[in-house]
């Protein structure tokens, strides 16, 4: 899959592909009434009642583990950053998957 025009600060092609895929998976898993295009990959995933909650995080962790074999654990000191946005989650998945 080739990268699109816009260069990303942290993103490799892999990250970008995962990001797009994650959007779809999350929309599907959480039955969100939105489209992938409407999701800003840099916007916070979780937050004051408007974003996702921790049950959704559990759901996302199931999706991520099923689709990429990457386990999200609570003792990961990076969680704060991993869950910061869809982009950072995608970057984490991309990095972990390579190992």
């Amino acid at each position: 899959m080739n990268a699109m025009a816009k260069p990303l600060p942290t993103g490799s092609e892999d990250t970008l592909a995962i990001e797009e895929e994650l959007k779809r998976l999350i929309i599907e898993a959480l039955s969100l009434e939105t489209t992938p295009e409407e999701i800003d990959a840099e916007a916070p995933l979780f937050g004051d009642g408007l974003g996702l909650d921790s049950i959704d995080a559990l759901e996302i962790s199931l999706v991520v583990s099923k689709a990429y074999g990457v386990q999200l654990r609570s003792d990961d000191a990076q969680n704060h950053r991993i869950f910061a946005s869809l982009r950072s989650l995608a970057a984490h998945v991309a990095a972990q998957r390579l190992r």
Binding site: F46, L52, D53, S54, D56, L58, S61, S74
Partner: protein, 313 residues
């Protein structure tokens, strides 16, 4: 809408800040500090004696919680509640706060803790998938903690709203309850439920009080003591997602330093409920929880520690 965050919890019931957060048991933090200081220095008996003026003060000076308590008692008793019943309820509440100092640190000598359903609990624990315990603001959750220490050595974690979690942790740290303080999982962190799952995977118990929720949480109206009351969907969604055995757990105060700790089978899930069946699961599970809560609250009306308007404004 560009730049949208994922709109999971529709702000549909915005403006309806849960009453318990707007007007929490204002007594709790102050009372907790006072009780702890007294208890540690002077012992249970002195603390218990002081509960009389303290309870009277809180009963007489807070009309809003009193009205809410009256409403509950009227429904639970099937008649108007008098000062006697109100007193019993308030006294019971302040007693549990005093007793916490001992129960929370596992010092149960002098206490009578009657256990019910321990075999049911053990049978489910033996499956090795952990057990999710649904409680309520009915009685003392700490009583349960002490029993888990004493009769049933198992990892126990309690899910709590962030503000409460911070306060309780601070308090537990002051008591020197290091291990117990660590067993509080504050809600609101994205990885809270990951911690829940991991604790369960280790065969632990995770307790949560399923009768209140933070603002913005999805609530479902279910019949409770005669009228529909909004109960949070979250605990049941969590159960469905985790697919572990679920039990009800109540630590009812039955008298001075006397508690009856109950574990009741509720839902023996063997696997996560598939997505398509989740709503159906909620529709079954929530009213069943409400029905058991209703029965138990009727049995021990002086243990009802929701001092806000439970049925909504």
């Amino acid at each position: 809408m560009p730049g949208a965050t994922l709109p999971l919890n529709p702000p549909g019931n915005a403006g309806a800040a849960p009453d318990w957060r707007a007007a929490p048991e204002r007594g709790s933090p102050t009372l907790l500090r006072l009780m702890t200081a007294i208890a540690l220095r002077l012992g249970w008996r002195v603390g218990h004696a002081l509960l009389f003026p303290i309870t009277a003060y809180f009963l007489l000076t807070a009309p809003r919680p009193r009205r809410a308590s009256r409403e509950f008692l009227r429904r639970a008793l099937g008649r108007e509640a008098g000062w006697r019943e109100l007193w019993r309820l308030y006294f019971s509440f302040s007693s549990t706060i005093l007793d916490r100092v001992w129960l929370c640190t596992g010092r149960t000598e002098g206490f009578r803790l009657e256990m019910r359903g321990l075999d049911d609990l053990r049978a489910r624990m033996a499956e090795g998938r952990g057990v999710l315990l649904l409680g309520a603001h009915l009685g003392s959750f700490e009583a349960m903690r002490a029993v888990a220490d004493a009769g049933c050595p198992v990892e126990l974690a309690v899910l709590m709203h962030e503000g409460n979690a911070a306060r309780v942790k601070q308090w537990a740290d002051a008591l020197g309850g290091e291990a117990r303080a660590a067993a509080i999982i504050p809600l609101g962190q994205p990885d809270a439920m990951l911690r829940v799952r991991e604790c369960l995977e280790r065969g632990g118990l995770v307790g949560l009080l399923a009768d209140r929720a933070p603002e913005g949480a999805r609530m479902v109206s279910v019949p409770f003591l005669g009228s529909p009351a909004p109960l949070p969907a979250g605990p049941h969604q969590l159960a469905a997602l985790l697919g572990v055995p679920v039990m009800l757990a109540f630590g009812l105060r039955r008298g001075p330093r006397r508690y009856e700790v109950r574990f009741e089978p509720f839902e023996d899930l063997t696997a996560p409920v598939p997505r398509a069946g989740r709503e159906e699961f909620l529709r079954r599970s929530l009213p069943r929880y409400a029905a058991r809560l209703e029965d138990t609250a009727r049995e021990a009306p002086d243990n009802w520690f929701n001092f806000h308007r439970f049925w909504g404004a």
